[in-house]
Symmetry: none
Subunit: 369 residues, 2 copies
DNA sequence: AGGTTAGATGAATCCAACT
DNA sequence: GAGTTGGATTCATCTAACC
């Protein structure tokens, strides 16, 4: 659905490029309602007072680059309002956004998201398995960052690959707390001096989970604070298109070099576990039409307490109720709803068999042709 | 230090009582700069639409109480501003506050704390070991709540019992994410009908860690949204004084009865807080997310007879089967079950290596941190 | 008595396609 | 666009009933 909806405006998007400039101006130059997902890791306004030293007196490399200083919350709020407004304009109606931050800025971003009409879906905690300790012993180890996932508006039909995430998580549904290591080792990009190329490079594993969970292959993902391009790198691997915006030339250069080395994974590997909802709908009446069930044949409920008769038009008739397999099941159980496919069974060779088996046969046939 | 600072005004405080009334009015009637710590669990402003049913058709008991209803963010913000202003007035200069909330309200509370000059020390994530699942599979399991810990102002000499918390945490620094179960079982207070007495009762283990970490014996702790009195109960056990404010008579009654049964230094309560460390379960998908295995990469079976390809969501795809490492292994062997971790191998430098080696690497990392 | 199984439940912004 | 119908969807834990 999403990929089909790409119209003419999408074709004019500067896909898989890193755009130079202030992200607000650049976003305003792009066509509205053209992007499926935005991932944003804005500067944090860290308010560091003086230099921080480890117990052994070695200096900690603080996040004190010039772009990270803001005079006050007021200025920061103005900045947040501006870039979120520009970002929201770019999102398709069913698009979504992820923002990431720490306690220094995330509350202001979250409030502004709500003020602008974004609809928060989850706040997700990235629980770092190897955070920097609190050297002074004056606070708790700052061991997590917070991400907010929000759709463009209440009622948006956002993308959520529930089954794929469940598969990623050993068969149980994915929670709002993710345990992942920080970006270190070979993955951490270095400059020519061997220092880290960017102070807050995010791990690819984080973006992998974000993109697998909330985008499909072919989707367009915008990152307005591209940095050294983790979003673009993972998007490319996963067969998504990206647009990066970054105003610092050194970061653009590092990101460009990084992206040139990335290759997309096999198409087959990118196909992901699908939800049953994605499968074609089969009308119960088709089973009757095809003679898989005969009119007049009896069906038994899963618990064996009820039975009903199949009618020629694909409805059921019970003691005091006529209707669809779902309606009759719900009525008999006194339940608000009922999935008739898993509720009803028919008899073959003395064995009770769920009618869903017949639906699966039909679906298998449909897949062949 | 703290205990010495108690002046004449402190003596007039209504200690270890539950005050009746609107918390803002009551707080304004108390003497300023008289309280060491405030713990606040205000209404979350959940905006629940219709009913929600579990897959077994049972209805979820929603938090739809009148006290959680607000017309808009504007109204909620006004409420937040008012009670935080009253709370800040009551705090001693070196006092601190904890607030707890979910994504519905915590961003607004956090921003207002900052606006009023509170100095955020940490945001602490309560990771629930047994949260309610997401029944419709439309979002991530909402598995955590967020607490914000802030001093009255920048430069406040807040209380932080670093060593006590370290001891609580098996000798390593306490982190900003706490794994604790929700309040159930005998601890959960019931009314005469056997229904829960309060819809959102917090676990004592949570308050135990808060009070051990950020107060000393003899400190005065105020809870403006006292509910059924978890803050008071834990304060009493730990030899702190409390002041509770609660406007609902039924909650006050339950809390009063509860508190009468509490005795100071209840050793049992101390044991409750020893968080059970969950056995580190590693999802195969994590190896893919972290780049230890690449989507599209091939795995070989232990006997060399079968191979399968890794997909981006941590499932495998073989000749005629898709599924988890365990499912695909079992299918290929025609076995009822299979331990995929010991069955599958990957290739590095021409050598076949069991994937379990990668799991061991991750577990070693988790154990370290 | 001791172990097993079935049932209940928790701060939840929880559907989508068709007529 | 509103109303109707099909039919997809749950994890950890505690309690009570039951062998």
């Amino acid at each position: 659905m999403k990929t089909k909806s790409k119209g003419a405006e999408v074709k004019s998007l500067p896909l898989n490029q890193i755009l130079d400039g202030d992200c607000i101006e650049v976003m305003n130059s792009l066509p509205e309602s053209s992007v499926d997902l935005i991932f944003a890791d804005p500067p944090y306004n860290l308010q560091l007072r003086g230099d921080l030293h480890r117990p052994d007196n070695s200096k900690v490399d603080a996040v004190d680059d010039h772009w990270d200083q803001f005079d006050s919350f007021k200025v920061y709020d103005k900045f947040t309002r501006a870039w979120l407004t520009a970002a929201r304009r770019l999102l398709k109606p069913d698009g979504a956004i992820w923002v990431i931050g720490s306690y220094h800025n995330v509350f202001r971003m979250g409030a502004e998201l709500q003020n602008q009409g974004f609809w928060i879906l989850n706040d997700v905690v990235w629980r770092k398995s190897n955070p920097m300790p609190n050297f002074r012993g004056k606070r708790f180890t700052n061991a997590h960052e917070t991400m907010i996932w929000a759709s463009k508006a209440e009622g948006s039909k956002y993308t959520f690959n529930y089954e794929a995430l469940k598969a990623l998580n050993e068969g149980v549904q994915m929670r709002s707390d993710w345990v992942l290591p920080i970006c270190t080792g070979h993955e951490r990009l270095k400059d020519e001096n061997g220092d880290k190329a960017h102070p807050t490079q995010k791990p690819e594993s984080l973006l992998h989970r974000v993109l697998i969970g909330s985008t499909n292959p072919g989707d367009v993902i915008l990152d307005p604070f591209f940095g050294t391009g983790t979003t673009g790198a993972v998007a490319k691997m996963l067969g998504r298109d990206f647009i990066g915006i970054e105003r610092e030339e050194t970061y653009r250069e590092v990101a460009k070099k990084r992206l040139s080395k990335i290759r997309k994974f096999d198409k087959e590997a990118l196909e992901v576990t699908q939800s049953k909802r994605a499968e074609p709908r089969v009308a119960f009446g088709v089973l009757v039409e095809r003679g898989m069930l005969r009119p007049g044949e009896e069906l038994w409920s899963l618990n064996g307490r009820h039975k009903a008769k199949v009618r020629a038009d694909g409805t059921l008739i019970g003691d005091d109720i006529k209707g669809s397999i779902h309606q009759v099941g719900a009525h008999l159980e006194g339940a608000p709803s009922c999935n008739g496919w898993t509720y009803w069974q028919f008899k073959r060779d003395g064995q009770k068999v769920p009618i869903d088996l017949l639906r699966q046969q039909i679906r298998a046939e449909m897949a062949k042709h």
